[in-house]
Amino acid sequence: MRILLEARREPSRLARWLSPIVATLAVLLIGFVLFTAMGKDPWQAMYTFFIDPIDERYKAAELLLKASPIMLCAIGLAVGYRANVWNIGAEGQLIMGAICGGGIALAFQDIETRWVLPLMLLAGMAGGMLWAAIPALLRTRFNANEILVSLMLVYVASLVLSLLVHGAWRDPEGFNFPQSKMFAEHALLPNLVPDTRLNVGFLIALAAVAAGWLFMRKSLPGFQMRVAGLAPAAANYAGISANRTVWMGMLIGGGCAGLAGIGEVAGPVGQLLPVISPGYGFAAIIVAFVGRLHPLGIFFASLLMSLLYLGGEAAQMKLALPSSVTGLFQGTLLLFLLAADVFIHYRLRIVRAPAAAARPA
């Protein structure tokens, strides 16, 4: 008996949406086994990891708070990925957004106007776009691989941030710690739900998801980008500029990531620190895929990813489990997803007779 993969005539929509669910269940199973192997009560560990972080109002707000930057980055990346523009440097663009927006906040430390916050958001977006423009330029002008360039720029961005908080922007009254001054009240995102830390950044993220949907589904450039991704040759024939596709994909991804960055420093962080993101830009890559590059899918996948972060923290505090289990779960989730995706284009066929009876291999 042999098991063969047989190509489907048409991709299965059912498999497309089932696969993230299967992957999530597989991660739960792995978690269960892992916790047992580490000598913890698996049920209690699972409860701590996946339920405990959201069983109160305050905690649920934390879930949305953490999901916001991931959602923003992922929706931006998804637009590019649809067009086969592989921006994997959202983390760097996020940092650059935080730097540019944070710079405005520090400059307007003592000048109280209500224009500071909008200006910060714009600067953050511009910073992310600027950082994404480098791989876009090098790709369109010099044919340089955008995957490698955008990734290299993550390291450069985090070094720029380190340079600033250790040097020019260091708080003179900060006991020599590498950190900027705390942002003034008027440079922080307003709170959304009283008694929680949830701020209007969540609304910005939701708006971005909605805008992403409108752009991809209802606009001509969005349509052109989807065509460029699905059938590059057809896109070329139809006169859709490949360079323009790269530029749009990169700039949208960078802008969203930059917005996420300023949202973090003008939100829960409140100042510039050497490290402002626990890898949201990379988690967003996973979210974009798990969410099927679809805005609604991305919304739910961001919540899941946020839960993985919070679960890791809870497991560390309550069960003395290493919080790095989060990274492990994230990677596992994406690998399982990609593996399960085989059923979109193929189905299993069990051949009982000798292999020769199957289709000629």
């Binding site: 995957i147 492990l328 997803l337």
Partner: protein, 306 residues
């Protein structure tokens, strides 16, 4: 003169992890498979090598374990992309993210452990010769291994029948399949070889270059190795040259500090990444050369049923 010899010694030492990782990836790519998971495989290789070396007190056993770990991780990639037909770019990214997470998780309790590293060879008499002694006889054993590996790969790819078949699979899997070569199996082997090399590169980092385990200690070297394969237009000797060039760039950081140059460390730390971007742009500029040299089926899935 002796400081010049010392500089060569240090450059080779800094370039060696890139040599291992990039040569492995080159073989993988020659078979038509693009594995972006080098960074992840290196990290897992590094942490497993370190753990085994710490527990067995044998650094060489650690190296072997690192190689095995890299190969094992690449097997996951091979399974997902070659058997389950997943997108190679996405799967490679997934492998890197997974490797980062896995290595941080398993290495947690080893962060401040000290191990006995593999020391440079010192051949009595020979290594003490002025200049030449240092240049030829004072390297770490793994540096010699990397040079042997380079020669072996060059010979295998361009002077053996098996190497020809591997390249044929990378250029036109359909033709190779039609002639009767087991394309998928050959690609499995090439991917696992690449994984083993990445694991070795990681082991070199954690056991020789900087005997310790630190989360994310590869610092992007896996990605630089990927870029190196492009710079080298898929030619082993150019991989070697590029790796040492980048080794030299990494060194600039320490050298400048040694010379008392007043410049924030961050600028120098940026150098390897900025250099990668600049060189990548310069080399890729000539799209025709890249297209001519890149394996024709690079990154494209292959299924025997078509």
């Amino acid at each position: 003169m002796d400081t010049a010899a010392q500089l060569v010694l240090l450059t080779l030492a800094a370039g060696t992890p890139l040599v291992f990782a990039a040569l492995g990836e080159l073989v993988t790519e020659k078979s038509g498979v693009l594995n972006l998971g080098v960074e992840g495989m290196m990290l897992v290789g590094a942490v497993v090598a370190f753990i085994v070396a710490a527990n067995t007190k044998s650094p060489w056993l650690g190296v072997v374990a690192g190689i095995a770990a890299g190969a094992a991780l690449s097997l996951v990639f091979a399974l997902v992309t070659l058997t389950l037909q997943a997108n190679q770019v996405a799967s490679g990214l997934a492998l890197s993210l997974f490797g980062v997470g896995l290595s941080a998780f398993v290495g947690l309790s080893y962060v401040s452990v000290v191990i006995d590293p593999i020391r440079p060879i010192a051949i009595a008499g020979l290594s003490d010769l002025p200049v030449l002694g240092k240049l030829l006889f004072a390297h770490n054993p793994l540096v010699y291994v990397s040079l042997v590996l380079f020669a072996a790969i060059q010979w295998f790819l361009f002077h053996t029948r098996a190497g020809l078949v591997l390249r044929a699979v990378g250029e036109s899997p359909q033709s190779a399949h039609a002639i009767g070569y087991p394309v998928v199996r050959i690609r499995y082997a090439a991917v696992m070889f690449g994984g083993a090399c990445a694991g070795l590169a990681g082991a070199y980092l954690s056991i020789v270059y900087n005997p310790s385990w630190v989360e994310g200690m590869t610092a992007g070297r896996g990605w630089i190795a990927l870029a190196l394969v492009v710079f080298a237009t898929w030619k082993p000797w150019r991989v070697l040259a590029g790796a040492y060039l980048f080794g030299g760039v990494t060194l600039a950081q320490f050298q400048a500090q040694g010379l008392g140059v007043e410049i924030p460390a961050q600028y120098l730390s940026m150098l390897p990444y900025v250099a990668t971007i600049v060189v990548l742009a310069i080399i890729s500029r000539d799209a025709a050369t890249i297209k001519l040299n890149a394996p024709a089926s690079l990154g494209r899935p292959f299924h025997p049923d078509g």
